[in-house]
């Protein structure tokens, strides 16, 4: 793009800024709107709610940032979350039936969750890399598979966590540390780890390289397939972490759990300035993206000026506008 390059050069700086601050600007604007809409928005209660809620999508989106940066996509995260929660509950209930409900059971559940997450991620990664099937299709397939499996396990209904176990597990979602709810802390931890991994390690750099040009990466002795599979496994683990803090919230899972989370996660990633075509990812942007999405929902609940029916419209517009703030920035990535 020669002449584009010319302009490109100046653009770059310009857009890089926009890409960096864009999401934050959007967040701040939303924040102000929130305040205008309803005083209650600023109440600590409400703000903690927003943070805590955003941690599900947020943690998943951190994983998605890796997948997308490396040029992939994962549509299965939502149903994966449902599937993992379902299995966790079944496992913990079976244990609870055999032994005294205790911390051990919860740990067993957590362990199982991480195991399942990595496995599910590996399946996606393996099919994409070794099976050479487009990620979109692989994960579209597994999306349907996981969801129907959980419906099957739940026998069409809802899987409820054993009361005893629940009481032990409950604090993981509801308690907090110096006023900061555990989910938020976990989210923060995941984000920081993600940031370091993506920006400070060889693995992260290889993700960028693969996303930007797979062949060049392969020629530079980068283990393309391994790295790509790893990003999916990472995504799976993030999903499992999200479920670990999700299950104690309502102590239940069903075929409905996590519907459309995949789209929310991807939206969060893109709003955050990551390039969908791969080669450029931003963890902090993703975090902000997740906050934005949660905040939209929250604000809509705090007002009744807009008909409920129009929530989707408002969300849609905000998402598009938020990305519009970074317009052009992804263009030259072609």
């Amino acid at each position: 793009m020669s002449s584009m390059t010319t302009t490109g050069v100046k653009k770059t700086r310009f857009n890089l800024d926009l890409k960096t601050i864009g999401p934050f600007v959007a967040l701040i604007v939303l924040f102000l709107i929130g305040i205008l809409v309803n005083q209650a928005f600023l109440s600590t209660g409400n703000l903690t709610n927003i943070l805590t809620r955003s941690s599900f999508i947020g943690i998943i989106a951190v994983g998605a940032t890796f997948v997308i940066t490396a040029g992939g996509i994962d549509l299965s995260v939502g149903s994966m979350a449902a599937f993992i929660s379902g299995c966790m509950i079944v496992i913990m209930n079976t244990l609870a039936a055999t032994m005294e409900p205790g911390i051990m059971i919860v740990l067993a559940g957590v362990f199982a969750s991480v195991l399942l997450g990595s496995a599910a991620g590996f399946v996606n990664g393996f099919l994409t890399t070794k099976g050479k099937i487009e990620a979109f299709i692989v994960t579209l397939g597994t999306m349907g598979i996981y969801r129907s499996l959980v419906t099957y396990v739940a026998d069409g209904g809802t899987l409820a966590l054993d009361r005893g176990v629940r009481t032990i597990y409950r604090p993981v979602y509801y308690d907090s540390f110096f006023g900061i709810p555990y989910p938020v802390l976990v989210f923060l931890g995941v984000a920081i780890l993600g940031y370091v991994l993506l920006n400070k390690t060889v693995f992260g750099r290889h993700c960028f390289a693969i996303g930007s040009n797979e062949n060049v990466a392969r020629y530079s002795a980068v283990h393309v397939d391994r790295i790509k599979t790893l990003t999916y496994i990472l995504q799976g683990i993030c999903v499992s972490i999200a479920t670990i803090i999700y299950v104690p919230r309502l102590g239940s899972a069903s075929g409905q759990t996590g519907t459309l989370w995949e789209l929310e996660a991807i939206a969060a990633v893109i709003i955050g300035g990551t390039v969908l075509k791969g080669g450029y990812g931003r963890i902090w942007g993703t975090v902000v993206g997740a906050l934005i999405l949660t905040m939209i929902g929250n604000i809509l609940n705090l007002t009744d000026v807009i008909s409920n029916y129009l929530n989707g419209t408002v969300q849609g517009i905000i998402i598009v506008v938020a990305v519009f703030l970074q317009r052009g920035s992804w263009r030259k990535k072609k």
Partner: protein
């Protein structure tokens, strides 16, 4: 010579339909053992289009002699069901009315407006005709409309003030989230009409988290075992529940099977009411084994 009944129901997209699926499966097993020369084909569909497809398949492939259908949406399916009728099959419609009621031979009617009305009546009484409430609605479809309108009608004239109503899509997570925000927004809430037990469960958690259990009570709907258990145990947060039994599908299947096999002259409408479940009568509605 076998007699085939096609049963078409919505996919388990939330707790209640989950219950429908469960009861349909159970009843299928039971009926097929009791009536050896009876064959039941069970199909589920996510939306009217898919359900119309299913109906076509039941006729063209399974050559059904009778259809038991819980329409995902009465309006759009009226016509496809008429076609099944024209193929000579006996038609049993469950829960949701068609736009043309001459099609069905048997109608096992759930009563959505009644659910709304009963809830309204109770809340009015419990609050002494005066107070601030919030409403969590289901998915934006006809059923939700009917329930909601009936409810608003029910509280009309009283001094009960609906602070706001939002859609919680018959989903626990949404129930939890929406209620969290209601709690953040309204310092005083006397009662919550959650309309559905899945939503109610979410609401309960949100209220507990906010530590405002003493302030309000919650009225759900459908008769999910967890909620009924709470009612039985006299939980003050959920003093009552309003029945809207997914088991109505079983009733419909049984009637149809009976007519099919014995040729008994069964016709007309069987209304499954929406009685109020209180601590007193709760045990009659408690089925621990059901997933719902």
């Amino acid at each position: 010579e076998k007699f085939t009944i096609g049963v078409s129901i919505p996919t388990a997209t939330h707790g209640w339909t989950g219950g429908v699926n469960y009861h349909a499966k159970e009843t299928k097993k039971r009926l097929e053992t009791t009536y050896p020369d009876l064959k039941i084909v069970l199909v589920t569909a996510a939306d009217p289009t898919a359900q119309a497809n299913d109906l076509e398949d039941l006729v063209s492939v399974h050559k059904i002699d009778a259809l038991v259908i819980l329409p995902t949406d009465g309006g759009p399916l009226t016509d496809p069901i008429r076609q099944v009728k024209e193929s000579g099959a006996l038609i049993t419609v469950v829960d949701r009315a068609l736009t043309d009621d001459t099609i069905q031979d048997i109608y096992v009617a759930g009563n959505n407006p009644e659910l709304g009305a009963v809830s309204a009546k109770y809340i009015k009484k419990a609050l002494g005709g005066k107070g601030d409430i919030v409403v969590l609605r289901g998915m934006p479809i006809v059923i939700d409309e009917e329930r909601f309108d009936a409810f608003m009608e029910g509280i009309e004239g009283s001094e009960i003030n609906v602070l706001d109503h939002k859609h919680a899509n018959w989903n626990r997570d949404d129930g939890f989230t929406v209620m969290q925000d209601f709690l953040a927004r309204f310092p005083k809430i006397d009662a919550v009409w959650a309309q559905d037990d899945d939503i109610a469960l979410g609401v309960i958690e949100a209220v507990k988290q906010a530590g405002r259990e003493e302030e309000m009570f919650i009225v759900g709907g459908a008769g999910m075992k967890d909620i009924i258990k709470r009612v039985m145990d006299g939980d003050r947060l959920t003093p009552v529940d309003v029945l809207y039994p997914p088991s109505m599908i079983s009733t419909a299947m049984e009637i149809t099977a009976l007519k099919a096999v014995t040729g008994a002259p069964l016709k007309g409408t069987y209304i499954v009411g929406s009685p109020l479940i209180t601590q007193e009568n709760a045990k009659d509605y408690y089925f621990p084994k059901s997933p719902f």
